[in-house]
């Protein structure tokens, strides 16, 4: 339950508030996570982000060579922005519920740290970095490190390096229903010409392990080789993941699906030209 509410209009005010209130304050973006019933028991002071003007899509801005995405862009705004890479728009559409997409933000999706957050695998596959701010200043952090470190800082931008835009990406969300919980979410990307040797692959799988979503062992085996036959790649993925069973899906199912979906995503990535 929100006890107090602030809507700062400068970044400095927002950061100062946060520094002053510490763990008792939370940044509030769309609120689709923070205001939901599951979060209402907690008491906190909200620092709303919608007055900060952090909702832009900028190409080559601020000396960044790629794309700079504002954290308060809603998922729907991402989908509607032609400059946003198709794979990221596709991943945003994996949140099937339009009412949610109209509220939920990019920054909130990354910061909420859901096991299967829709945008995390794809942004890993696009080598996204985050710009983070707190009272001590600004720093740039790869998304993977952000997931590991879990800093209590404000995400002020999501940066996609220009090189990432050359990546070909294959994505897959696995769930029983469009609006149901995501069981697995997979993104695979690589460089190089379609159907040539796999260059700089990134394999990200959410839903099989808590924090580190990259299957770096699989990536190493793929690097510089021709696309392996499906069964071989599936075998590598099976070895690389150690999912836990839950009441809705066995570990065996998750392991199997991770393997199958990675293979499918790589095949899609290898063929994709966009």
């Amino acid at each position: 339950m929100i006890r107090e509410f602030h809507r700062p209009v400068t970044l400095r005010d927002a950061l100062e508030l946060k520094a002053r209130l510490g763990g008792g304050a939370r940044y509030l973006a769309g609120g689709t996570e923070l205001n939901a019933i599951s979060a209402r028991a907690a008491e906190f002071t909200a620092i709303a982000l919608d007055g900060l003007g952090l909702g832009a899509v900028a190409e080559g801005a601020d000396g960044v060579d790629g794309l700079r995405l504002g954290p308060t862009l809603t998922l729907q705004e991402l989908i509607d922005a032609p400059a946003v890479p198709p794979a990221l728009r596709e991943a945003a559409a994996h949140v099937a519920n339009r009412n949610i997409r109209n509220g939920a933000t990019l920054g909130g999706n990354l910061a909420a740290r859901r096991a299967c957050a829709a945008l995390v695998p794809v942004l890993l596959a696009l080598e996204a970095d985050l710009l983070l701010c707190d009272a001590t200043g600004e720093r740039r952090l790869p998304l993977a490190d952000f997931r590991r470190e879990r800093p209590d800082a404000l995400i002020t931008a999501i940066l996609l390096p220009a090189a990432a835009r050359a990546r070909r990406v294959g994505l897959r969300r696995f769930a029983r229903t469009a609006n149901g919980p995501t069981l697995l979410s997979v993104a695979v990307s690589c460089l190089g010409a379609p159907d040539a040797r796999v260059q700089s692959p990134i394999v990200a799988v959410a839903g099989v392990a808590a924090d580190s979503l990259r299957l770096t062992g699989v990536e190493r085996r793929l690097q510089g080789h021709a696309l392996p036959v499906r069964a071989v790649l599936e075998g590598w993925v099976r070895e690389a993941v150690a999912p836990a069973a839950d009441p809705f899906a066995s570990a065996e199912l998750k392991r199997h699906l991770a393997a199958v979906l990675v293979a499918d995503c790589l095949a899609r990535a290898a063929q994709r030209e966009d």
Partner: protein
């Protein structure tokens, strides 16, 4: 803080806590069109608003976020009561059923048409992707959007593509605006929660965390001392009166095996204490102050565990029989545990609580064993079904208050009269004249609201405290403390000759009723009585055993056991076809029921009493099968273009009943008003199905007047005459016929008066549209008749009553066809095409009948593929939310989804009508199982057919 924003075009400054949920804020500001279907999970979209023009869920916003923003709700659309093109189109296309989700749909589509004037199917799907509608199956929304698009250009654009039935009628069998449609589309006050007066107390239930336990000690003294607590009811101060919550005709075939609160809790979520307080916050605080010590008992979670020797007993109670006590009862009662209380049976249902048996029955015709011996092929298979919940978007809700010395119950119920009877009993035998039940609009019932799961406590507390009481279930309570489908295991034995002729059919059914015996005999029996008579076979039998356990309560759910029975028998017949090397469709065709057939098996399938054999009065199965096969291109193999994905096709034939002949009764009354129009007082409870419209049409057609000339008031125990309630597919057939009979009686009265006025014999007169009596020498209008009869020298206002009972069973039939795509590697199943062809006699409201079919099918695609309540080893439901439980929404609608009405003219139903809704639930599971087999060669014998089960059946997972 003060929050300034624009609400429906007007600037507002509202004082609110910054963290107040916007849904609550809007409702307290009188905007009742925003509704709550998921307690702020964000999953249902019933609370949707347009925020700066975009649909968002108001439950996910806090008040402070509104500062400077623009909020729009449907209330902004009503200009001088006119409907917007979207609102009128939704009604006219038949997509407004209960209407609880309608304001949200309207906003989503207004926003869509605002950004895309001519939206694609995909865009419409996306626009409604966040709106959970449990009633309609969504399909008709595509037509509605097209109609809205046209009406935005031409307000007079007419609805197209709705089929018409029955020659020579004006309104019967023709599309017409649902009588409650405009009110619902405008989001006006209509539901129980909209009626609650300020100052009403809130009732919250303390529920058991244990599936099976005795309450060793309960101390509510600290809670009672809390200021604002009005009353706390526990097993210690609750009346010693037994009852059953099933809203069935009296005497019920369900055991009276519970009190309002008991010293023993029998499921997680069972009642421990009812707390009445001035506010929800106080009630919740009081609950935290109640100290309870439980003596935890071993939970029993399956029927197999319940029947195992030495299993813990759920009701080791003292047994009493109103009639038919079995011999040896006294000796049996010597084994009872006094702490378990009593069970009262109105008559024997062959229960044996000493081994957890809640009810049992067996029977048959011919000789099954001989039939099996004579068979060339014998097949024996077992099928099981999981626990699924009705999930009406409006959960259970009640508002009770005193009016002088009378108790008024505003209810969202299917059974106003049973509710009144049960409450009267629980008040210690208060006379029914002291109680009034007003059924408000019901935001989805689906069977769950056939049972009295909260009204009795609220009513009791109002009665003893004099205070108005409001209670509304949370979504979690809806799962764990309302009603679900009985979990069943069904062993099917079939015998057939080489040519496919069935020689024997036997169903051996074990059902799990959970903690109490609501519908414990009749739901499992219905699994047999709606499955077996689809086949003509001389040797048929069934055995039903229902066990108590500690799972969340089960009971009625649309289809009432038939979906489970149909899944088992229809799938088994398809498996038999495989064994015989026959096309499953050919095997169905060979053995299916036909018009004129005598259904002897029904003799042994009465509801707790002797049944009656019935002759099939009308049967459209032939054309249903023929047209469905053509539509789906039966027998033609289709390729997906993806080597991993196989496409298969499946079919199932289905039936239901049309009410309970010999048991049910319905009544209606009609009065002529001063200008010759009418008010129809109909007992039947409209749950959004369109029953009020059926009743109005019966009267308008019979009385040759316009539909608008009939005002319908329904299901109010003070105002309207008795009706059995909305269950057993009885609405159109019984309640509709009662309205027809009332109108026919009114017609006779009109003719008599007109005869006097015209000086002609009534027999020579005819009613002609509009509202006129035509004689040979002249005519007289109803207005003139009203003037004459209601004047100082008249005979008095014309009024007439109609009553309906029958011993005839008119059976609706249907055939469901589907094609599915199965991904062999992931186990995913996608329903590509679904054709539901149904014979409901004459469809009285064609567009609403279609909506019933679409809705029933999508719900049951749900339990076939996605939905299931998952319990842990302690009986706790692990997924009591709409998202985790996985309700199907618009994205799960098949790519091609067609409901088709195959009309027959039933000789007994009103204007030839039979029932339509429940039957729609019976085809999906077997048709999909059959199609999965056709695609990938494996049989799924347990629903839901999840990827995990498919991969196991395929051998991909060990």
């Amino acid at each position: 803080m003060l929050i300034a924003f624009t609400l429906n075009g007007a600037p507002r400054r509202i004082s609110a806590e910054p963290g107040e949920c916007v849904l609550d804020l809007l409702r307290r500001e009188g905007i009742t069109s925003v509704r709550n279907g998921c307690d702020g999970e964000g999953a249902c979209g019933a609370c949707a608003i347009l925020l700066d023009g975009k649909p968002v869920n108001s439950c996910l916003l806090v008040a402070a976020q509104l500062e400077g923003r623009t909020v729009t709700t449907v209330d902004a659309l009503a200009r001088a009561r006119a409907l917007s093109p979207v609102q009128s189109a939704l009604i006219d296309a038949g997509i407004v059923q209960c209407g609880y989700c309608t304001p949200a749909m309207v906003l989503a589509l207004e926003s869509l048409l605002g950004r895309t004037p001519d939206p694609s199917r995909a865009a419409i799907r996306d626009a409604l992707s966040g709106t959970f509608c449990r009633c309609t199956g969504y399909e008709q929304v595509y037509g509605a959007v097209e109609l809205a698009r046209r009406r935005r250009l031409d307000p007079a654009a007419a609805v197209e593509d709705i089929p018409e039935f029955k020659n020579g009628t004006r309104v019967i069998g023709k599309a017409a605006r649902k009588v409650d449609g405009p009110k619902l589309a405008r989001g006006e006050k209509a539901f129980v929660e909209d009626m609650v007066a300020p100052g009403t107390c809130v009732l919250v239930m303390l529920r058991s965390p244990h599936a099976h336990a005795r309450i060793a000690r309960i101390d509510a003294s600290a809670a009672r001392a809390l200021p604002g607590v009005v009353y706390i009811l526990t097993h210690e101060n609750c009346p010693d009166i037994y009852y059953n919550q099933a809203g069935q005709g009296f005497p019920e075939p369900s055991p009276y095996d519970r009190k309002l609160l008991s010293a023993k809790v029998r499921h997680v979520g069972d009642r421990v204490a009812a707390v009445l307080a001035e506010s929800r916050e106080i009630a919740e605080a009081a609950i935290r102050l109640i100290a309870v010590e439980y003596e935890v008992l071993t939970p029993v979670l399956t029927a197999d565990a319940a029947k195992a020797p030495g299993a813990p007993l759920i009701h080791n109670s003292r047994l009493e029989y109103v009639v038919g006590a079995p011999p040896g009862l006294a000796a049996d009662n010597a084994h009872a545990d006094p702490r378990d209380g009593r069970i009262i049976y109105q008559f024997p249902i062959h229960a044996d609580p000493r081994r957890n048996l809640a009810a049992s029955v067996s029977g048959g015709i011919g000789d099954v064993e001989r039939g099996l011996a004579a068979a060339d092929v014998v097949l024996e298979r077992e099928y099981s079904t999981s626990q699924v919940q009705c999930t009406p978007v409006e959960p259970h809700v009640v508002y009770t208050r005193m009016d002088g010395d009378r108790l008024i119950i505003h209810a969202s119920t299917q059974v106003p009269w049973h509710l009144r009877r049960i409450v009267a009993r629980l008040l210690g035998g208060v006379s029914e004249s002291r109680i009034r039940v007003i059924k408000e609009r019901v935001g989805g019932g689906f069977g769950a609201k056939q049972d009295i799961v909260l009204e009795e406590v609220a009513a009791y507390l109002t009665w003893i405290t004099g205070r108005p009481v409001f209670q509304r279930f949370t979504r979690e309570e809806e799962f764990i403390a309302s009603r679900t489908r009985h979990v069943m295991k069904i062993r099917v034995r079939l015998g057939a000759k080489r040519d496919g002729t069935l020689t024997a059919v036997h169903l051996d059914l074990t059902a799990n009723t959970g903690p109490y015996g609501s519908h414990c005999l009749t739901v499992p029996m219905n699994a047999c009585s709606k499955a077996l008579p689809l086949f003509l076979c001389d040797n048929m039998g069934f055995r039903v055993e229902t066990y108590y356990s500690n799972i969340p309560p089960t009971g009625a759910y649309q289809g009432y056991g038939a979906p489970q029975g149909s899944f088992a028998l229809q799938t088994a017949v398809a498996e038999l076809a495989e064994q015989l090397g026959m096309d499953p469709l050919a095997l169905l065709e060979k053995n299916r029921v036909r018009e004129g057939a005598m259904l002897e098996i029904l003799r042994c399938l009465g509801e707790g009493r002797e049944g009656v054999a019935q002759r099939v009065s009308s049967c459209g199965l032939g054309p249903c099968l023929e047209r469905g096969a053509a539509a789906l291109r039966w027998g033609v193999r289709e390729e997906s273009g993806d080597p991993d994905v196989a496409i298969g096709k499946g079919v199932a034939i289905i039936q239901q009943g049309s009410g309970l002949p010999g048991l049910d009764s319905a009544n209606a009354e009609i009065k002529m008003l001063g200008d010759g129009t009418f008010v129809l007082l109909a007992g039947g409870a409209d749950l959004g199905t369109g029953l009020d419209t059926v009743a109005a049409k019966m009267a308008a057609e019979t009385l040759c007047t316009d539909l608008e000339a009939i005002a319908v008031l329904s299901a109010d125990t003070d105002v309207t005459p008795f009706d059995k309630g909305a269950y057993a597919s009885s609405g159109t057939y019984f309640s509709g016929a009662a309205a027809l009979n009332a109108a026919t009686a009114m017609k006779a009265r009109i003719l008599a008066v007109a005869g006097e006025m015209l000086g002609e014999a009534p027999e020579g007169l005819a009613l002609v549209h509009p509202a006129t009596v035509q004689g040979k020498g002249g005519s007289v209008t109803y207005a003139a008749i009203a003037n004459r009869t209601q004047g100082g020298t008249g005979c008095g206002q014309l009024a007439a009553t109609g009553h309906f009972t029958t011993d005839k069973a008119s059976i609706p039939y249907g055939a469901h066809f589907c094609s599915v795509a199965v991904n062999r590697r992931t186990g995913e199943v996608k329903v590509l095409k679904y054709h539901a062809l149904q014979d409901c006699g004459t469809p009285i409201n064609p567009e609403l009948a279609l909506g019933q079919i679409y809705g029933g099918v999508l719900k049951t695609i749900g339990h076939s593929l996605y939905e299931e309540m998952v319990l842990d080893g302690k009986g706790r439901c692990l997924n009591p939310t709409l998202r985790d439980y996985q309700v199907p929404m618009i994205h799960e609608v098949p790519e091609v989804f067609r409901a088709e009405l195959v009309a027959t003219d039933d000789p007994f139903g009103p204007f030839g009508a039979k029932s339509v809704s429940e039957i729609s639930c019976n085809g999906a599971a077997p048709a999909i199982a059959n199609a999965i087999h056709d695609a990938v060669g494996v049989w799924l014998r347990e629903w839901p057919f999840t990827p995990e089960r498919i991969l196991r059946a395929l051998g991909t997972l060990a």
